[in-house]
C-alpha cells in the first residue's frame, strides 16, 4: 500500500538540499508580543490544567449507527402478532422457524444475523433498552443525530457533544489519548474542550500524515519548546501521534504476519481493542457506522439490514473478546438517532420513525435482560399512530452508565446532560453495583 501513499514530506527527507541563508535580514524578536500572549494563553479551560486520575480504568465506547437502524428488526417483539401483521415481507420469522428470531426472553428475540452476540447475552453482559429514544419529535436525520450527539434534544445552540462533556466532568488532567475517535474527523459527540485523538477508519488509519517524518518532527520540536498552551498542545499532540503510530505500526506487522484479517468493522474494533490494551489512558472512544436508512428492500432474515447487522455483531463480539480483561471495565453503547415506522412501506422498507432500541454491552452490565417500558404495538399505543413510542429517554440509560459505571455524582451527570429528565425507567439498574 505504500506506493500510493506518497508522503509529501518524503521528498524532503530524500533530498535535504543545500543549506542557504534564509534571508539577509535578521529575524526580529517580538519580545513584547510574545510575553504578552503568554498571559492570554494561560486559559483556565486548557486541558493541561487538570491532573490525571489514573486510579480508574473504567471506560465507555459509543457506536453510533447513522441513518436510523430499524430497532423492531434488531430486538424483535416476536410475542406480538401486530408486529407480523404490520410487516408482511420483512418480519423476522417466529422462534423455531428456519432463520427465525433467536429468542431472548420469550417475548423479544434477536435478529438471526446477530447470532455472534448470543454468547454475550447468555453470559449476562449484553442488555437492551427498548422503546428508547429522543423526546424530540423530529424525523430529520440531521436534527436527530445532532440532538443525540449534543445530548440536549430540542436545544440547537449547544456546541459541544455529551461524550466530550463526559470527559470534562472527570476531574484531573486529560491526556492526549484519553478520548479516541475513529473516523475521518472529530464528530459532534466528541467535539468540545477536552482534546480528542483521531484516527482514520480502515486502512486509512495506517496512512502517515505529512509531518510524520523524523526530520520534520525534529525541526518542529525545536520551535514548540515554550510553556505556552500552543507549545503544550503541540507536545501533547506529538505524544499521542507517536503512541498511535507505533501501535498502528505494530498492528500492521501483526496483521501481515498472520492470517488475512477480517475486513470492515471488526478490523476497526480489533484495532480499537488493541489500542485500549496498550494504552490504559483511553477513557472514551467513538465510532460511527452508516448504511441503516433502509427505505427500500430492507430484507428480513437475509438482505440489506441483515448484511449490515452481521459485520456489526461480529465486530462487537470480537471487540468483547479482544478486549480481554479490559472487557470487565468497559461499557459499549450502540445508539441510533431514531427508529423506523412499524409498518413496512410499499418498497419493502421502513421510513423514519421514533422509538428505537439501545444496546448496552460489557463486563459491568447487568445483562440478559431487555430493559425499558414496552408500550406495545397496538395502533393506539403507537406514536402518532405509526411509530414505536419512546418510553425511555436516551439520556436515562446513559446516565445510569455514568452513575454506576463511571461513578459520576448527580452533579457530574447534570454537567453531561444539562436539563436531563429525572430517571423514571428501570434502566437505572442496568449496571452491576
Amino acid at each position: 500500500m505504500s506506493k500510493n501513499l506518497q508522503d509529501p514530506a518524503a521528498c524532503i527527507a530524500c533530498n535535504p538540499g543545500a543549506a542557504t541563508p534564509l534571508s539577509r535580514r535578521a529575524f526580529l524578536r517580538r519580545a513584547a508580543v510574545l510575553s504578552a500572549s503568554g498571559i492570554v494563553l494561560l486559559s483556565p479551560h486548557a486541558w493541561a490544567a487538570r491532573s490525571l486520575d489514573s486510579s480508574s480504568k473504567r471506560r465507555l465506547i459509543v457506536v453510533f449507527l447513522r441513518g436510523a437502524v430499524d430497532g423492531l428488526n434488531v430486538v424483535v417483539p416476536h410475542g406480538e402478532s401486530a408486529y407480523y401483521d404490520a410487516r408482511p415481507t420483512i418480519a423476522i420469522g417466529r422462534m423455531g422457524a428456519g432463520d427465525g428470531v433467536i429468542d431472548l426472553d420469550g417475548y423479544f428475540g434477536l435478529h438471526p444475523a446477530l447470532a455472534p452476540m448470543d454468547a454475550q447475552w447468555r453470559d449476562g453482559t449484553l442488555a437492551f433498552v427498548h422503546a428508547c429514544g429522543s423526546p424530540d419529535p423530529t424525523r430529520s436525520h440531521f436534527d436527530a443525530q445532532d440532538f443525540m450527539e449534543s445530548g440536549t434534544p430540542g436545544v440547537r445552540t449547544t456546541q459541544d457533544g455529551w461524550l466530550n462533556r463526559t470527559l470534562a466532568a472527570i476531574p484531573g488532567t486529560h491526556g492526549p489519548t484519553e478520548a479516541l475517535s475513529l473516523g475521518p474527523t472529530v464528530p459532534r459527540i466528541l467535539s468540545g474542550r477536552v482534546p480528542v485523538a483521531n484516527i482514520a477508519l480502515g486502512r486509512a488509519a495506517e496512512r502517515p500524515m505529512p509531518m510524520d517524518r523524523p526530520v520534520i518532527e525534529a525541526a518542529f520540536d525545536k520551535m514548540y519548546v515554550g510553556n505556552d498552551s500552543i507549545s503544550r498542545a503541540y507536545r501533547d499532540g506529538r505524544q499521542a501521534r507517536m503512541r498511535l503510530v507505533s501501535e498502528l505500526t505494530q498492528d500492521m506487522t501483526e496483521a501481515n504476519a498472520g492470517a488475512p484479517s477480517p475486513q470492515g468493522f471488526s478490523d476497526d474494533t480489533d484495532r480499537l481493542a488493541r489500542l485500549i490494551g496498550r494504552d490504559p489512558t483511553i477513557r472514551v472512544a467513538f465510532m460511527a457506522l452508516g448504511g441503516w436508512d433502509t427505505h427500500v428492500s430492507e430484507g428480513a432474515a437475509t438482505g440489506q439490514l441483515a448484511g449490515h447487522l452481521k459485520p456489526l455483531a461480529e465486530g462487537l463480539s470480537s471487540l468483547a473478546k479482544s478486549l480481554g480483561p479490559n472487557y470487565q471495565d468497559t461499557v459499549i453503547l450502540v445508539i441510533s438517532e431514531f427508529g423506523r415506522t412499524m409498518h413496512e412501506n410499499g418498497n419493502g422498507g421502513t421510513d423514519h420513525g421514533h422509538g428505537n432500541v439501545m444496546w448496552v454491552m460489557g463486563g459491568p452490565v447487568k445483562g440478559g435482560k431487555v430493559y425499558g417500558r414496552w408500550p406495545g404495538l397496538s395502533t393506539a399505543s403507537l406514536y402518532q399512530e405509526r411509530d414505536l413510542a419512546v418510553t425511555t429517554d436516551f439520556r436515562e440509560p446513559i446516565a445510569a452508565v455514568l452513575r454506576s459505571h463511571m461513578q459520576f455524582s448527580d452533579a457530574q451527570i447534570d454537567r453531561v446532560f444539562p436539563g436531563r429528565p429525572r430517571m423514571s425507567s428501570n434502566a437505572a439498574g442496568l449496571i452491576k453495583v
Partner: protein
C-alpha cells in the same frame, strides 16, 4: 529604531486583524501609507480597486449572481420533475415506485446541482485570499457567521451562496437594521430556521405542513442575531415574535422567470416542487397540485413571500411594545425595536471586539462601541471606527494574541505563499478536517473564534501536516482538478469537482495530501520570499530552527511556526 520596530508591529497587527494576514508586497504597501491610513482605506472598500483578473474570475461564477428563484428553477425544479416522471412511470402504483430508480433518475441532476455550492466556496475563498478589500472579506465572514445558516440543510444547498452575496456582503459596513432585514427576508434564512412553516393556528392557510407556530427563528433572532442570550426577553416575547412573523416564508405556488413576470402555475411553473437536498421533508409549493386553475401571484425573484392567509392579525405585546395587527409591517416594526435595543448594541459590540481585539474583550471598549452604535442608529462602520481608533485595539499586549481559527489559518497560509490557486478542494478539506468546513456549521450560533474552542493537540498535528504539505509544494492547488469520472469523449474537460458539504463525521473527507491522485503539484513557495512577506517576525526558537534546516524544509517550518498560528 524603537519607533521603526513599533511601526513594524503595527503594520503586522493591522494585516493580521483587518486582513487575513499579509500577501506578498502587503507589508511594503502598508508601510508606505502607514497603518492608520490603511485602516481608513479598508473601512471604505469602494475606494479600493479590484484587480481585473479577480473580478473576471468572480464574474465567471454564474450561479453566484442568480436569484434564489432562478436557482430553484435551474437547479432544483429539474430534480423535482425527474422525480415526478419516475413516479408517473410507475403508473401511480405506489408499491411499484422504486426509490432507487428515482435516485438513479435524478443522480446526474443532483451532481449538476453541486456546482452552486462549489461556486459559493470558490467565490468566498478567492476573494479572501486574493482580494484587496480585506476588511470587507473579514466582515463578510464575520456577519455570515453571525447570521449562520447550514448549507447541508435541504434547499440551503442552492441558496447559501446567494444569501451571502445579497443579504450579507452588500451590508457589511452599513446600518445593522438593513443587514438584519436582508437576512430576515432571505429564503435561505427562512428555510434554515423553519419560519417558512410558521403559521397562525386556525388561520385560513393553516393546513398540512403549515399547522401552527414554529418559534425557532423568533428565538434565534433575539438570542443570536440581536439582543443576546441575556438580552432581557422572556418566553412570552419569543412567542409574541413568532406570532408577529407568521406568514413570513417562501412562495407557495406558481413560477417565474426570475424577473417577477407572471406565469401559469401548472405545468411550466414550480408546481408540486419538493424540497431537495436529501429529502428532508415535504413540499415547498404544496398547494399547486390541488388547485388546477390557480393563477399565482407574481413571484418575487428574491424568493421571499408573505402569506397573509397564514398570518396572525391579532394585536400583540412584544418587549413591552404594543404591536397592532397589520400584516407584514408588524415584522418590520419588531425588527426596528430589536435593532435599536441597547442589548443589541452591547451584544454586537462584544462580538466585534472579541473578534478584532481579544478573546476576553475589554469592557470599557465594548461600552464605548455600544454607545457609538446607539448614537449612530446602528452604523457598523462607525462602531468599527471607534474600535480601530481605541487604545485597546493598539495595545501591544493584544498583538498576535488571537489564535487563528482553521479558516483564518488556511486562508492566511494561502495568502502568505502567494500561490495562484485554481483548486480549492485541498483548502476546503483541511478546514473540514480541522472541524470548520465553510458553510457547514450546523448550529445557528456559527463557529466560535476563541482559542479555547480551536486549540487542541490533534488540531496542531493537522495544521502542521497542512503546513508541511503546502510548504513543500505538495498540494495540487494550481490546476483545477479533473472530474474523476469525466467522460473521456469530451476531450478531458477540466471540471473542478465541488467540495462536499456533509455532516461532521458523517462522510468521507476528500483530502489525503496525496499529490499523485489529483493532478500536478504546485510550485513550492520560496522560503526567503515567504519570510519577507511575513515581515521576518519570528521568535529566536523559530528563527534558529528555520536557519538550521535545509532550504526545502524552511517554508513548512515558517507556515507551521507558533507565531503563524496566531494573528
Amino acid at each position: 529604531m524603537a519607533f521603526e520596530e513599533s511601526k513594524q508591529d503595527r503594520i503586522l497587527h493591522v494585516l493580521n486583524r483587518l486582513a487575513f494576514g499579509p500577501r506578498p508586497g502587503d507589508f511594503e504597501r502598508v508601510s508606505a501609507v502607514g497603518p492608520e491610513r490603511y485602516v481608513q482605506e479598508q473601512l471604505h472598500p469602494e475606494t479600493i480597486a479590484i484587480p481585473g483578473d479577480l473580478s473576471e474570475r468572480v464574474n465567471e461564477l454564474h450561479t453566484l449572481h442568480m436569484s434564489p428563484i432562478a436557482l430553484f428553477i435551474e437547479y432544483q425544479r429539474p430534480i423535482n420533475e425527474a422525480r415526478k416522471t419516475a413516479k408517473a412511470e410507475a403508473g401511480g402504483d405506489k408499491a411499484a415506485i422504486d426509490k432507487t430508480a428515482i435516485k438513479d433518475a435524478t443522480k446526474d441532476l443532483r451532481i449538476r446541482q453541486r456546482i452552486v455550492m462549489r461556486e459559493a466556496v470558490e467565490a468566498r475563498m478567492m476573494r479572501a485570499i486574493e482580494g484587496p478589500r480585506q476588511l470587507q472579506e473579514v466582515m463578510t465572514a464575520f456577519w455570515f457567521n453571525h447570521f449562520n445558516i447550514f448549507a447541508g440543510k435541504g434547499l440551503d444547498l442552492i441558496w447559501t451562496g446567494a444569501f451571502e452575496e445579497t443579504a450579507i456582503r452588500p451590508h457589511t459596513f452599513g446600518k445593522f437594521r438593513t443587514l438584519l432585514g436582508a437576512t430576515a427576508h432571505h429564503p435561505a434564512m427562512l428555510f434554515y430556521l423553519d419560519n417558512w412553516q410558521n403559521t397562525a393556528p386556525g388561520s385560513p392557510g393553516s393546513k398540512g405542513k403549515f399547522e401552527g407556530i414554529n418559534e425557532n427563528y423568533a428565538r434565534e433572532l433575539m438570542e443570536l442575531h440581536t439582543l443576546g442570550v441575556n438580552g432581557g426577553y422572556s418566553q412570552a416575547d419569543v412567542i409574541a415574535l413568532a406570532h408577529i412573523l407568521t406568514g413570513w416564508g417562501l412562495p407557495k405556488g406558481g413560477g417565474g422567470n426570475g424577473d417577477g413576470k407572471r406565469m401559469r402555475g401548472d405545468g411550466g411553473g414550480m408546481a408540486g416542487g419538493e424540497m431537495g437536498g436529501g429529502g428532508m421533508g415535504g413540499g415547498l409549493f404544496p398547494f399547486m397540485r390541488r388547485r388546477r386553475n390557480f393563477m399565482p401571484p407574481a413571484i418575487d425573484p428574491s424568493g421571499f413571500y408573505f402569506d397573509e392567509s397564514r398570518h396572525d392579525f391579532s394585536e400583540k405585546t412584544f418587549l413591552g411594545h404594543r404591536i397592532e395587527g397589520g400584516g407584514i409591517d408588524e415584522g418590520e416594526h419588531a425588527l426596528d425595536i430589536l435593532a435599536r435595543s441597547p442589548a443589541t448594541a452591547k451584544h454586537l459590540s462584544f462580538k466585534l471586539a472579541q473578534y478584532f481585539v481579544a478573546d476576553d474583550p475589554p469592557k470599557a471598549l465594548v461600552e464605548r462601541m455600544a454607545n457609538r452604535y446607539l448614537a449612530t442608529d446602528g452604523e457598523t462602520r462607525a462602531v468599527l471606527e471607534t474600535m480601530f481608533a481605541s487604545a485597546e485595539f493598539w495595545d501591544p499586549r493584544n498583538y498576535g494574541a488571537k489564535f487563528k481559527t482553521p479558516y483564518e489559518y488556511v486562508v492566511s497560509c494561502a495568502r502568505a505563499t502567494g500561490v495562484p490557486i485554481r483548486n480549492y478542494r485541498p483548502l476546503y478539506g483541511t478546514m473540514q478536517m480541522l472541524g470548520m468546513p465553510l458553510y457547514a456549521c450546523q448550529t445557528p450560533n456559527g463557529y466560535a473564534n476563541t482559542q479555547d474552542m480551536w486549540l487542541n493537540p490533534d488540531a496542531m498535528m493537522m495544521r502542521l501536516s497542512f503546513a508541511t504539505a503546502l510548504g513543500s509544494g505538495n498540494l495540487p492547488l494550481e490546476n483545477p482538478p479533473f472530474e474523476e469520472d469525466a467522460n473521456s469523449g469530451s476531450g478531458g474537460e477540466m471540471r473542478p469537482e465541488p467540495p462536499a458539504v456533509m455532516r461532521n463525521g458523517g462522510g468521507k473527507v476528500n483530502i489525503n495530501f496525496d499529490p499523485g491522485k489529483h493532478g500536478p503539484k504546485m510550485t513550492p513557495p520560496d522560503p526567503a520570499q515567504l519570510a519577507a512577506t511575513l515581515g521576518e517576525y519570528f521568535s529566536p526558537a523559530t528563527a534558529n530552527a528555520v536557519e538550521a534546516s535545509p532550504t526545502n524544509l524552511r517554508a513548512p517550518l515558517i507556515l507551521g511556526s507558533p507565531e503563524f498560528m496566531k494573528r
